[in-house]
Symmetry: C2
Subunit: 152 residues, 2 copies
């Protein structure tokens, strides 16, 4: 009676979108390495020697989650983790050779997957898709840090 239509709820849609992506990733890219794992690997290939916190920030994972992801990647031998001799709090990360190789392989597959994923949209629509989703996500993330204290 008083129920709403979930199709009008952007959050529900967001969840479905991610599930859909997960499915496609799993079948077209890899069953071993997940999308967040690839994101971490990608960040380290771009800039080896980053510490955990920074990588997490770059790919959008909190301190706990990034720790888990790194543990798994390290267990698979795709990255090395060493204590920073300059600052004993940090762990410095860099991809292994195997990690670099895997990253290269998945990059190709990921590109193909993205095409399939966005295939239902025209080129202009794809641009729009990125723009709209990014603006919504950015705005909501912005609400987290209540925007620099106005005064001073």
């Amino acid at each position: 009676m008083a129920a709403v239509d979930l199709a009008t709820h952007p959050g529900h849609l967001a969840r479905r979108l991610q599930q859909a992506h997960w499915l496609l990733w799993n079948t077209m890219v890899s069953e071993e390495i997940t999308s967040p794992q690839f994101a971490v690997l990608n960040a380290l290939v771009a800039q080896p020697g980053l510490d955990q916190r920074t990588v997490g920030e770059r790919v959008g994972l909190d301190r706990s989650t990034i720790a888990e992801v790194i543990t798994r990647l390290s267990r698979r031998g795709l990255l090395d983790k060493v204590r920073d001799p300059q600052d004993g709090r940090r762990s410095l990360l860099r991809p292994t050779e195997e990690g670099t190789r895997v990253h290269r392989k998945l990059t190709v597959r990921t590109a193909r997957m993205n095409q399939v994923f966005l295939a239902p949209l025209s080129a202009e629509e794809q641009g729009l898709f990125f723009d709209l989703v990014q603006r919504v996500a950015d705005a909501a993330e912005g609400l987290r840090n209540p925007a620099e204290p106005a005064a001073r």
Copy 2:
């Protein structure tokens, strides 16, 4: 060197979108009841007496996940779960009074939250957002069931 820009990856964007939504839900709707839990409650308010599988289908959760969500809702006393006397395989679900009350309360808050979430977009853009995201999600979900065997 060979790293890609994650901003061009729809999957990464989808993940960020969902995280953003989760954050907003948590602060504006409820810290107790999650968005998937609300979706299940909503389906049962619309149609009490559904079985687990059907509810899962309606809200987009697989058999295992729907079972967990229902356990939690039931533990909180928001729904009743009874064996179908007509078909001993099924569990029939219906919201309790408390469940209905909670659903009503959250419906109001959810509407407010959705407005804030989509605030960065104009009215037309919001329509577009729904259309684009829905089409991408639908298409990917469609790939799961390889579309009715062409020749019978």
